[in-house]
């Protein structure tokens, strides 16, 4: 059975392609994404308390390493196969080395509507994976030059809306525990999927607008927008297995690896690598990879996780 939230995404996409006048006011988009970010953080934080830090640490380290790795792999592909300018290749690579919270939310919804369990510290890994790619991307574009204002890069990266809300939610959830959250559950938990539906409606509208750019930048970007997530999902699955994650956890880690950022990274790159053309990375991340992951990728990564676990167990 198809998830209704996916249909909201398609509704937005179709409306956008038909040039409907439908659009969510920017304030509504922000409201919905603020609530989603907090929800994800809170949900993760509640469970964080149950896990000893000694288990979390290796996971965090592994995920950061994966973020570095994926960015470093994507860069030469874009630079030499795709013949992009250095700044553009670095910026697109950073988008794909980082993560998309929207895709993460869809993966969570996918698993929970199928009653598949997953590790509860996934939101923490989401946060960890968001940042390294940005740093790598800047270094790839700039070299380790003195001129980079690392202080302001750090400010941009760590104090962006997304990280503050995710981390804030994590900490609050961790501090008050499941009972403490009870009174705010109706807004942050019960409405989660409804808000996700609205969010995806808007994402469909935004995605539809990328089609024009895609046509201009041609087939390589399309191929990269599908090939890169498939490759990253393999890496993510491998890391998941190595860390001993459950099938659900492995699916989510593969999804995280496969997803491409369209909030934190674009903002950071715009400030730190302004000579990169933002249209390229958004066309790929939003126009190709986001819909691919949401419509096809997540089920594929799930199948992959099932298969890999069966294989690993023998």
């Amino acid at each position: 059975m198809i998830d209704p939230i996916i249909l909201f995404f398609l509704l937005g996409g179709v409306a956008g392609l038909l040039r409907s006048e439908l659009r969510l006011p920017a304030a509504v988009y922000e409201f919905v994404s603020i609530v989603l970010l907090l929800s994800i953080g809170l949900k993760g934080g509640v469970e964080l308390a149950k896990q000893p830090f000694s288990i979390l640490l290796p996971h965090m380290v592994a995920v950061v390493a994966m973020g570095f790795l994926l960015t470093l792999i994507a860069f030469p592909v874009l630079r030499y196969l795709g013949r992009f300018k250095r700044a553009d290749a670095a910026s697109i690579a950073a988008h794909y080395g980082s993560v998309s919270v929207g895709t993460f939310a869809v993966a969570i919804a996918y698993l929970s509507s199928r009653q598949i369990a997953f590790e509860d510290h996934m939101p923490l890994l989401l946060v960890m994976l968001e940042i390294p790619a940005i740093l790598v991307g800047i270094v790839l574009a700039r070299g380790l030059s003195r001129e980079t204002h690392w202080r302001s890069v750090a400010h941009e990266v760590f104090l962006g809306k997304g990280i503050v809300l995710l981390l804030g939610g994590l900490l609050i959830g961790w501090a008050v525990g499941p009972n403490g959250l009870k009174p705010i559950e109706p807004l942050f938990f019960d409405l989660f999927k409804g808000f996700l539906a609205l969010f995806l409606l808007e994402m469909g509208l935004i995605t539809a607008k990328q089609v024009g750019s895609l046509r201009r930048y041609g087939p390589f970007l399309v191929a990269f927008g599908i090939g890169m997530p498939l490759f990253s999902a393999l890496v993510g699955t491998g890391v998941g297995l190595a860390l001993g994650l459950s099938i659900g956890g492995t699916t989510i880690l593969a999804t995280l690896a496969a997803s491409a950022s369209y909030i934190a990274v674009p903002a950071a790159m715009r400030i730190s690598v302004p000579e990169a053309n933002p249209t390229l990375s958004l066309a790929a991340a939003l126009g190709i990879t986001f819909p691919f992951n949401v419509l096809l990728g997540i089920p594929i990564y799930h199948a992959l996780a099932v298969w890999a676990h069966a294989f690993a167990r023998g």
């Binding site: 659009r23 935004i206 607008k209 674009p266 903002a267 715009r270 400030i271």
Partner: protein
Amino acid sequence: MHSHTRTLLTVVTEAVLEGTLARDLDRLNAHGYTITDARGRGSRGVRDAGWEASGNIRIEVVCDKATADAIAAHLQEHYYDDYAMILFMSDVAVLRREKF
């Protein structure tokens, strides 16, 4: 009424630059500025403010000609190539010159 001539510099650019430009204006001796949210179309395509990455802002600075020129030169040097941005200037009459 006794009035004085000053320059009104208007800049339309990407919303993501708001913080940076506010600091720049401060450093370049603008006594103030006014910002409104905007959308539009230009050489870099449609910017429709549907979400974070696609919004414009419209900045106005009233100042003396020299300051306006300095700001325009600074913006042209640092942002014109890489960002969606236009700027234009005109003369305006102000009442209390000490404010600008």
